[in-house]
Symmetry: C2
Subunit: 715 residues, 2 copies
Amino acid sequence: MHKLSLEQRITSMQTLFIPESIAIIGASADPSKPSGQPLESLLANGYKGKVYPVNPKYNELYNIPCYPSIFNVPGDIGLAIIAVPAAITISALKDCVSMGVKSAVVFTSGFAEMGGKGKVLQQEMTILARESGMVICGPNCMGIFSAHNALMANFAVTRLPERTITDSFLGFISQSGGFGAACYSSISERGIGFSHFVSTGNEADLEFSEYLAYMIADTNTKVIGGYLEGVKDGVKLARAAEMAIEAGKPVLLMKPGRHEVAARAAASHTGAMVGSDRVYDALFKQKGIIRVESVEELNEVLNILVSGKIPQGRKVCILATSGGSGVMLADKCVEFGLEVPELSADTRNKLDKLLPDFASSINPVDITSQVMTQPALLRQCAEIILADPGIDILMLCYWAETLGEVEIIEQIAEISGSTDKMVLNLVNGQEEAARDTLEKLHDKLIPASRDGEYAIRALKLLTWYNEKKIGYGSELSFPELPAGAREEVAAYLDDFAPGAKLTEFQAKKILRAYGIPCTKEILAVGPEEAVEASAILGCPVAMKIESPDILHKTDAGGVMLNIDSPEKVREAFTRITAAAGEYKRDADIRGVLVQEMLPPGTELIAGISRDSVFGSVVLFGLGGIFVEVLKDVAMRIPPLSEIDTMEMMDEIKGKKVLEGVRGRLPVDKKALSQVLLRLSMLASDFPQIAEMDINPLLAYPDGVAAADAVIVLKA
Amino acid sequence: MHKLSLEQRITSMQTLFIPESIAIIGASADPSKPSGQPLESLLANGYKGKVYPVNPKYNELYNIPCYPSIFNVPGDIGLAIIAVPAAITISALKDCVSMGVKSAVVFTSGFAEMGGKGKVLQQEMTILARESGMVICGPNCMGIFSAHNALMANFAVTRLPERTITDSFLGFISQSGGFGAACYSSISERGIGFSHFVSTGNEADLEFSEYLAYMIADTNTKVIGGYLEGVKDGVKLARAAEMAIEAGKPVLLMKPGRHEVAARAAASHTGAMVGSDRVYDALFKQKGIIRVESVEELNEVLNILVSGKIPQGRKVCILATSGGSGVMLADKCVEFGLEVPELSADTRNKLDKLLPDFASSINPVDITSQVMTQPALLRQCAEIILADPGIDILMLCYWAETLGEVEIIEQIAEISGSTDKMVLNLVNGQEEAARDTLEKLHDKLIPASRDGEYAIRALKLLTWYNEKKIGYGSELSFPELPAGAREEVAAYLDDFAPGAKLTEFQAKKILRAYGIPCTKEILAVGPEEAVEASAILGCPVAMKIESPDILHKTDAGGVMLNIDSPEKVREAFTRITAAAGEYKRDADIRGVLVQEMLPPGTELIAGISRDSVFGSVVLFGLGGIFVEVLKDVAMRIPPLSEIDTMEMMDEIKGKKVLEGVRGRLPVDKKALSQVLLRLSMLASDFPQIAEMDINPLLAYPDGVAAADAVIVLKA
């Protein structure tokens, strides 16, 4: 069987989410149990299709007929819910296949999460799905629901909400059923409607990325949220993320595993294959997935997204009814990467005319408690600020009690509705009054929050997302390679055994073929050839041992720098080869590499690495102590765009070094970008490259050059 | 008049906080105005002393006699509340002084916050206070309250709470009245009782640090919170902080100004003198002040502190009813510096016996939704975990609905009460149920929260505070100085004019006198003397121009390194002096410093700087690109303890460099600590040193040495 494309999978999943009938294998009368819950809630929520409970123990359940076996069911079955013990789950699924059932949700646990025999059972399930074409959600899951057709094939969410402020807004996918249910509860309580909810379980067949793709394709769903511990197929996740940003649908994921302890627990929790968290993070940055830190943060972002607006820039004006809160908020804005610019003179003049003497029209604007006796101030000042073209976001911070009367909330709604700019309300005050105000604002889909830090973090995430989305449209344009480069490198690599380590001389051949600038060098097999080489290159030169058996050349006494006369070159050749022979008696010594001495430049590193989930990864960082001490490395997954390479340069902590420190000029970012793009092409063209390290890559105001390099092939 | 000690000020402030009678100058009948509010709330809350409204417009107010002037008041006045226009405030205060009034709260605005004439008026007020001995709160403030005597001398807080879970727990001081009132509202709503509340206003007399000291001395107050924009006298704040940590009373401050925009706004807001935020931060770290980021975070810390327990270590066990939430929390714990260690084999065995197969006894422990049908699991597992000696903190994460019945809350209370370890509850679930559960737990003074991140941040802050408090007991022990060092340096510095810049040779004399190791060096006035010097020191040597007019020696061509023969020394002398003469024609050239060449070591910087608020500051960091690009510098305020110096080394981002990278051995931290302690002594002994820079300070496995230094004296 061949692998289906993501698009084909989306089509198959319609049988799961829009079934015309449902059989519940192992249905029971107890709604507090997974076996009893779905029947109760399908009926209670008004699912329109046929429902067939299957259990030899009952004649009927909830006043509808119950069938002894699936073979007795009197009609076609679109979806089967499996709630039978693990031991008979596979045979139940086989029965489903034989009855032409197109999809199944398997609640049963006792599979890969148990290890050993459970793992084998799950593999059987995977093969069954692949061979039969039946799509399976689970096992070890809490199931799915879909709101528009009241498809309650789960035991996590039993009732559709009575009232939402926005219908079918959010699709949600969770790799933890219990936590997913907690998220559902917390989000839906705020009135945000779900289009779908999925507890993925062990993902024997359908995977997180596929549900994600389905919801992106679903016209009802506006935003997708989720809890992700890890995927098996990084490329599929990347593809789904691309679909999302192209469709303009924000994807908000909670992803634990930044720290080893959580990664360890997550791996044990789902038995999922978990790659390096740093690569997930890189993918998210690259493809515009919004990484949220908690369900609280997710709620804050949704709180803004339901308004249908997204912040169009980072420039915030804070308008507060107390000086202190304005100042605290301003600090937080800057901390999280927003700007709090000065207002234009015109804006300040207008504000000063309105405000009392003891107020302040400096951003953060302090309109003081004057607003309590003169509530119209809030609206008047807001209008003036929103007219300032230097402001993208207005943050209104006030006490709920100030707005006791409904008219002021109407005014805020009006202000908010009259502008494309973001108007965010921070409501202080007594709990009850504040909650009441928040609810009124939320009902009008106006962003309003009680916690300044969370609101600011949400604004930051969305400004980032918006910038990402705008930049994303630009097509990938790959640098042109020298003619025949691919063929040349392919032929060259063919000569090496799997797992081979290429020497500097060999690695640079490949780099040069792909147009990556390298030091000029000549391989000398004897002292006289070395002298000749130095004459061609011009003294001083660097000299390095060339041997596939010696990768750490310095340790072997195999590197000498700044050699400035023919005599010294001759002497160096002898000394280097002797030292290498001593270092490793039977080393295969190919000669000594005679190399031009590059002038001092900014030391960078660039390279390719492999991740177990995502495959090749392109790396970039500052060389030396920065990478060693601070692990200051940016990464992206091929194919890289020019924007990706620019973002990598902007992402490292020591980025100021690229701008030039200690009197140096800025490095040539265009040339650097070219190197990263060409590395990306190398990584894509030759997956057999397991590792490549250019260290150092020397950067100058007018170009870059690889001064040393190694390549390791996949074993 | 001489400056009173902090202890004397505390005594004087009793007249402000425990007055036997109060006059309200400018009292009015309108309780919505500052002039009307205090009288209403003093009477309504049952203030026991005499209250005398003063206003010629009324004969009586609220059924008590109102007096035309303070001179008509028929008894002694302890405290005067001033609510008259700015123009007549000073004369009102003078009247008070003449009537023997001991303290005043001035609501009136129109002083330093207005600049110009207002500033002059405020200076008059300051002088009046100093000369008369009357203590003044304000002007431009919302006043004070004190709970035990129902002293409502303010218009921010009008009613004492009907019910608290802990009385007189928190003293609160705010440099923003409005924000302070918002904090009061938010904190007291959780049932936390205030001992005092102060809106400091412009601090013409009483300052933030003095209120702080007062509350530390107050036996009722357990914890002090506050909103601080800046102080005028950093030393006083440091002294109050010392009193607090010695008294074991946590101080929790919100301090905006990390970023320039907030610092700018804060300065404009109160007209306060604001030092560098980094120095405040250093002081907080040094003296155990807990810096909280918002009133939300403050509330979270208080939520833990009311339990009377403080976490005794960083080792957290998470026990959650869903795998996902446990994993997310584990990630956050590590991110904020807590540990989530593996449980002992014994603990895991015991848990495994209790838990169902699909649960996990790995920390974070996932007890799954099994708890819904078997609620006793929570208590049983908690008891097992708390018995594990490797765990300091138990974090229970569950749905409120799980504990619907009161008995389980009783069980949690019992668990919590039976151990000195911290038990923190994270309550998920439907808003109403969760709030109900939280309230029940809070009533029993059990830490419980709805937001994991905030709870974890609070735990982190308190573990830090606890470690700080434990370490703090150790007395300061200063290194011994060479005999006569102080006198020698004092005499030497006397020869320099204010603002003088000391050369390397001069600066190192001072360093050596204080026992700070320096390179060996000899000042040579001619080429032959230089050759002689190099013979004494041994070649190779470094040679540097010595001129008070040339501080940037390298720029002037005034530095040559690795000079390895007498001829080259002679030549270098001529070359260096010639270059210096060319660089600056009339430079006063004293000769050339001939210096031993130190072997390569770890390049550090250390020095002294001055802050406008805190005076001398001792700095330490990694040299070169780290300090330039990352501003990776730690600072402390003299006198430094050995613990301070160790914390400085631990605080820098590049601290791994001190442990040895690239095959280097760790640097000699003891020797480094000695240098910082001796710099601290220099800074304390000679406040005329405005700046001192040791750059580089070379560190080795067995010692350190100053390779270059400059000193700048105060102008």
